[in-house]
Symmetry: C2
Subunit: 307 residues, 2 copies
């Protein structure tokens, strides 16, 4: 199965520090990039991570707080300077088109490649790529905010060369037909069907990106048995009241949600700049969900196929 | 005379590189900060330079190309999070108020301290601070762009203690009156006038910030006998045609302008990311104007009083 990894470009909440940029996570799939949020400095972090913006296909914005979007005009401006030729999709809350229209009118951002703007919360219910789909649901924050689930398309089962050969299929183009799910007719008139030579279909991998929000039912649906849950954990559990008041989650709440959703792994991001020692945060989260990590900038995580 | 320095926060044109951020220069005057342009990443560069945003009084935006303004929402957002209490002025081209209104409506930037927005090109002809004034003129770029001249207020001449004493002025509060320009009456009925005990007034220092533009008459006026001219030099002189077509200057054109304006010193900034070896650029500029430097990020330059 081809590579899929998450690269954490910015892991701070609210404002950047000298060690943590503001919100951005890249998913890298066969060299194709999908970006979730785009805080100030994302283009530089992509450079530092070796992620070429020429591969960028889709940007998904959770909400219009500055620490999640202020890097967008600069990134797309740089792509314009670099004569990016291909279309890029931007998915965001209502207001996205008005934002781009003003940036263009003022001269702040005048992209010279096709940018496809899609606003969530109207007719749109998911985004469909060639090899993946992205679905989204409203979260519970102070302003309109959305969580995302990236779902890779299922892949056909592995091709069993030995079975094909013993059924008399000659090596060559007929192998490819069977791999693509087409029955083939042999020279002796017999038909060989794909299920005779293919293993069970391999389910695609899934990643949920959920920030900024209180724990909620929508998050549970987005994170349902996901391979990787990326969830905010702005505060330590002592500050649960503050998290509640500000529409955020604690690291322990993130871990409980990962367990309830049956996620396979959890990475907590969007940490308040007040935390410099993350060990106690990690320990408290792992009491609820063992397979927890706390993100740091430029951390990469391969997402493995399961089953 | 109190300290005045320029701190170069971002010195690249168009897009950031790993060694140069996009446009921003801070003037630091008695701990008070004035910012010229605010490209993406300016708040982080201020942190690296040890410039506290709590001291920021005034931001001046030359124009609405993204590499000069994309750091503004993040900087002011961070100041909001940090509960900045004092008013901050933002001076920019027409469209500034519409820009802030949209950022506020979307939730990208909702400052919780007074922000005074002033648009150039209407009735406004200069900004007057307590100890300085900023004047501005239209430059010649692809969109509406402004150059600035910072002028420190003149200071009274030095107080001559010996002259005052020999005139019979007793040490004490009368010294202060004379220093503030008030005549004083001595116990014997004689009047002593300030000009009898003060040296010649000391002219305030001046800095011109001129980017992005072709060389023009407005620049000559802004830079007239200025203590420090900060001028763009996007290209080497071989690319003069490209500079002309894109509304920019070459490093040699910047140096010629410094000489023609009678500037005391020149710092060239806003370099195309294509130049990694700046030595040839510097050499070519110095043939026209000896006291030339080429900016690099986090460079600091003290501006000395003259005369």
């Amino acid at each position: 199965m081809s590579g899929l990894k998450a690269v954490f470009l910015g892991t701070s909440s609210g404002k950047p520090t000298l060690s943590r940029g503001v919100a951005a996570v890249a998913l890298v799939l066969d060299g194709e990039l999908i970006l979730f949020d785009c805080g100030e400095g994302t283009q530089l972090q992509m450079m530092r991570a070796g992620l070429r913006h020429s591969r960028l296909k889709q940007i998904c914005l959770s909400h219009f707080h500055g620490d999640h979007v202020n890097g967008l005009p600069g990134l797309l401006g740089t792509m314009t300077l670099d004569q990016h030729p291909d279309p890029v999709g931007v998915l965001g809350p209502r207001g996205l088109k008005e934002y781009f229209a003003l940036l263009r009118r003022l001269g702040i951002l005048v992209p010279r490649f096709p940018v496809s703007l899609r606003e969530m919360g109207r007719d749109l219910s998911s985004l469909q790529g060639e090899h993946w789909a992205i679905s989204f649901e409203r979260l519970e924050h102070r302003i309109e905010t959305w969580g995302f689930r990236f779902q890779e398309a299922d892949k056909p089962g592995r091709f069993d060369v030995e079975a094909a050969t013993s059924l008399g299929v000659p090596m060559g183009p007929l192998f490819g037909c069977l791999q693509r799910g087409q029955p083939v007719v042999l020279q002796d008139g017999r038909t060989v069907f794909p299920h005779q030579v293919l293993g069970a279909p391999r389910p695609g991998r899934s990643v949920a990106y959920i920030t900024d929000t209180r724990p909620c039912e929508a998050s549970l649906r987005l994170a349902d048995r996901v391979d990787l849950l990326i969830h905010e954990g702005t505060y330590a559990d002592e500050l649960r009241d503050q998290a509640g008041a500000r529409g955020h989650s604690t690291v322990v709440e993130a871990a409980i949600l990962a367990r309830q959703a049956g996620a396979r792994a959890l990475v907590i991001t969007h940490l308040s700049p007040k935390y410099t020692d993350i060990r106690p945060l990690l320990d408290s989260a792992r009491e609820q969900f063992e397979n927890t990590r706390i993100a740091k900038d430029l951390m990469e995580l391969a997402i493995e196929a399961h089953g």
